[in-house]
Symmetry: C2
DNA sequence: GTGCATTCCAAAGACATTCTAGGTATCATC
DNA sequence: GATGATACCTAGAATGTCTTTGGAATGCAC
């Protein structure tokens, strides 16, 4: 795919966000394989976010180990073999927690950035 | 001292944000010493953000090495010796860059989290 | 003037997460 | 049957933070 290599600027800021992004992707789309998740995040964010495979797959394994996502080998429309992931009930709860955590973080940093109003 | 030790929940999400917070603190307050920066961030964020000293001082050294901040030993009102930091011109530019980077990140992740509107 | 909390700085180690870079295999197209 | 996109996986290095630990100066209580 000619992964153009304009060095990923986000790297640092993405820390701790990957799980949230993956869980949310599954929550929005139901069942996906790893590669599809990466593409989804990249497209929906208008190319602002790029999830490297070397980050994604370890993350998926980690999430599965924690029983937050469930995997199953299957075949897509193309007949190609792929590992399909979906959210587990625990994963759904975790997603909610991560989302509110993210919102709190953004809010807190906002307080530092903007002179407090009101 | 009782610095209650409820294990810092933010740790991961703070990644890559520390520099921004430090630079912004100096930009808002002019001249500060390390400890004061930590307290400022904690207070202004309503205790949501806690910057550990073990993270802060290495960060300050890093920023100084990059000529983004300038340091000077001095004495505060209490007469206590402390190292006072202030933003350099380069630091101010960097702060602007980091701020817009942060905003772009938040926006991008927002696109993943919220079903795109309009 | 001793003891203790607070302020202030710093180094060393562990730890988690990501990236880089490599590998394998399938399928379609030419 | 070579090429390129798809799809998965892992090892190793780099990065940045946290934890731990320590030292030193100040202010207060007694």
């Amino acid at each position: 795919m000619s992964r153009d290599k304009k060095t990923n600027e986000n790297n640092a800021l993405l820390q701790g966000t990957l799980d949230l992004l993956v869980l949310k992707s599954l929550s929005r789309n139901g069942v996906m394989h790893g590669y599809g998740i990466a593409r989804f995040i990249q497209q929906i964010s208008r190319e602002a976010l790029r999830v490297e495979e070397g980050s994604l797959y370890p993350a998926l394994h980690r999430l599965e180990l924690e029983d937050l996502i469930l995997s199953e080998w299957g075949h897509g429309a193309s007949g190609r073999r792929a590992k399909y992931y979906r959210l587990s009930p625990r994963g759904r709860k975790r997603l909610e927690a991560e989302e509110s955590r993210w919102r709190r973080m953004v809010e807190a940093i906002g307080l530092v950035l903007e002179p407090a109003e009101g």
